[in-house]
Each structure stands twice: as structure tokens, then as C-alpha cells.
């Protein structure tokens, strides 16, 4: 018990909240949140899989998908995971300048991905694939739209973090804060890995 108290006290100086196991409560909560997000995206992906065949003859996945374009978008998001992990690595080294640079590059790549998604949605809409056109289109826009919102929220979080680091207003352990943002960003990438294969590459 005494050991636990001493162990917990060791972490007070770093500004974070640690459980009796020595693990960060914030990080534990983030992993629990990401676990719960699996259920959200699992539901959306399952619904899409169920309804992907429910469309008119000329407006199905095989007719509207632009695989080279989506592959390029996937590559951009994948590379944003690399820049994010480099930001975390810089934060661990207390290198604020590089942390801000890599976080900004990550946000930029994320914005590029979202721009690609907006372009893709616009193209599909012009081809006649609206949200209520078919069960396929509804489930597709809901799934990829939810993912896009997650990326957009991530971009806002990243830019806020860059601002907070610049003004030295990060409360608590800065390294851990960057790491938590990184976990969220990587999860968004992981979900896209599933969407890219299950939605785009496997034919309906």
C-alpha cells in the first residue's frame, strides 16, 4: 500500500493522473474510448456490407468507385500516421519545434484527405448518387461521412495542440498529451485501412 502511494507520488510532478498500477488514467481512458469506437465503426461497416448490393443497376459501387483516386487518398492518410508518430517521437525528446512541425504536417495531410473525400462525394452526387438514392448510398455516405467527421475533429484537435504548445499552455504532461492525440489519429487511420479494403477493394 505504502509502495503504491510512493509510486503515485512519483507522477505528481509530471502533472498527469496515474492509477495505483502506475498507468496513466488519461491513456487508459483513451484506449477504452478507442475500444468503444470499434463498436461504432463495426456497426457502420456491417450495415454497409449488408446493404452494398441494394442499388440500381447503373449506380452501384463497381460503377462509381475511382480506385486510383481513393488509393492516393489512402496513401495520404497512411503518411499522416507516419508524421504523427514522428511528432510523438519529437515530443518524447522535448523537441517542441519539431513536434509542432510534424503535428502541422499531420493536420495538413488530414485536410488533404478530407478535401479528397469532399471531391469524391461531390463527384458521386453529380453522377446521381445522393444520400437517399439507395440503401447502398445511404450506408456508404453514413460510414465514410462519420469517418470524415472523425478526421476533421482530429485536424481541429491537432491545430489546437500546436497553438497550445506555441503558447506553452498545455496542462499536465506534454508528452502524454501529444501521445493521446496520436492514439486518436492512428485509430482514424486504422479505421480507414478497414474501410479501404472492405468498401472499396472488395467488389459488391
Amino acid at each position: 500500500m505504502a509502495d503504491t502511494a510512493v509510486h503515485a507520488d512519483e507522477h505528481v510532478d509530471h502533472g498527469g493522473h496515474y492509477s495505483s498500477t502506475g498507468l496513466s488514467n488519461n491513456k487508459l481512458a483513451m484506449w477504452m474510448f478507442l475500444g468503444s469506437e470499434c463498436l461504432l465503426f463495426g456497426g457502420l461497416i456491417s450495415t454497409y456490407m449488408l446493404y452494398r448490393g441494394r442499388h440500381s443497376e447503373n449506380l452501384g459501387p463497381d460503377q462509381v468507385w475511382d480506385i486510383p483516386f481513393t488509393s492516393a487518398s489512402s496513401f495520404v492518410l497512411l503518411m499522416s500516421s507516419l508524421t504523427m508518430v514522428l511528432a510523438v517521437s519529437s515530443a518524447v525528446r522535448d523537441d517542441d519545434r519539431n513536434t509542432k512541425v510534424w503535428l502541422s504536417v499531420t493536420a495538413l495531410l488530414g485536410a488533404l484527405f478530407v478535401a479528397g473525400q469532399v471531391y469524391e462525394f461531390t463527384t458521386f452526387y453529380r453522377e446521381g448518387l445522393g444520400f437517399t438514392t439507395s440503401l447502398f448510398s445511404s450506408s456508404f455516405y453514413t460510414l465514410t461521412g462519420f469517418h470524415g467527421v472523425h478526421v476533421s475533429v482530429g485536424i481541429i484537435m491537432l491545430m489546437s495542440l500546436v497553438g497550445m504548445i506555441s503558447k506553452n499552455k498545455v496542462v499536465g504532461d506534454k508528452k502524454e498529451t501529444v501521445e493521446l492525440f496520436g492514439l486518436y489519429w492512428h485509430f482514424v487511420d486504422v479505421v480507414w485501412i478497414l474501410i479501404f479494403t472492405l468498401v472499396y477493394l472488395i467488389p459488391a
Binding site: L39, V85, I193
Partner: protein, 109 residues
């Protein structure tokens, strides 16, 4: 792995070892990019691949998924409790929706 560093800090066991060097992360990213390219090639050659197409694609997807999870998200180097928190959600989601899809005869079509 030779690229594993010994970046220890004083913030507790949860992020005592951050795993790879920057070069190691770049190598992982290149590997992931190559797998993505192979996946795209798979989608264009599904007729030639035949029955190997779907399992091959799913295996490549799983490799990418776990590479990001284990290395970029540091689950390989972090406390097992973090892994447990995430895998509970993942297993619950996969199990729950597999039953959901099976109930609606998805796998028979």
C-alpha cells in the same frame, strides 16, 4: 528488432519505452505503403487470383491494421492493460456484428 531504442523516461511504465527510432517508423510506413500498393494490384487482378483474392486481401488488411496498432500506437511496447482495453472493444465489435450479419444471412449470399 535492431531499430528498437532504449528511450526510457521517468513517467511510469505506460510509456517507459517508445519503441522504434524515427528510421524504424519510416521503414514501417514504407512497408505499409507497399502493402497498400499490393492490395490495389490485387483488386485489378481478382480474375487471375480466383479463390485466393478475398483471403489474400483480408490478410493484407489485417497485417496493415496490426502494424499500425502495434508499432505506431505502441501497443507492442506498452502495458498489456491498454491492449486489453482496446481488444475487449474490438472482439466485442467483431463478435457482435458477425452474429448480426449471420442472423441476416449475409454469409450465405
Amino acid at each position: 528488432m535492431s531499430t528498437v531504442t532504449e528511450q526510457h523516461n521517468t513517467h511510469g511504465d505506460d510509456h517507459a519505452d517508445h519503441g522504434l527510432t524515427d528510421l524504424g517508423y519510416i521503414k514501417i510506413a514504407i512497408f505499409l505503403a507497399v502493402i497498400t500498393a499490393v492490395e490495389v494490384v490485387f483488386s485489378y487482378t481478382q480474375d487471375q487470383l480466383g479463390a485466393a483474392f478475398l483471403p489474400g486481401l483480408l490478410i493484407l488488411m489485417a497485417v496493415k491494421f496490426f502494424m499500425v496498432l502495434l508499432y505506431f500506437m505502441h501497443l507492442k511496447f506498452d502495458s498489456k492493460l491498454f491492449s486489453l482495453m482496446f481488444y475487449i472493444g474490438l472482439v466485442l465489435a467483431v463478435g457482435c456484428y458477425a452474429v448480426f450479419l449471420a442472423t441476416l444471412h449475409f454469409f450465405q449470399s
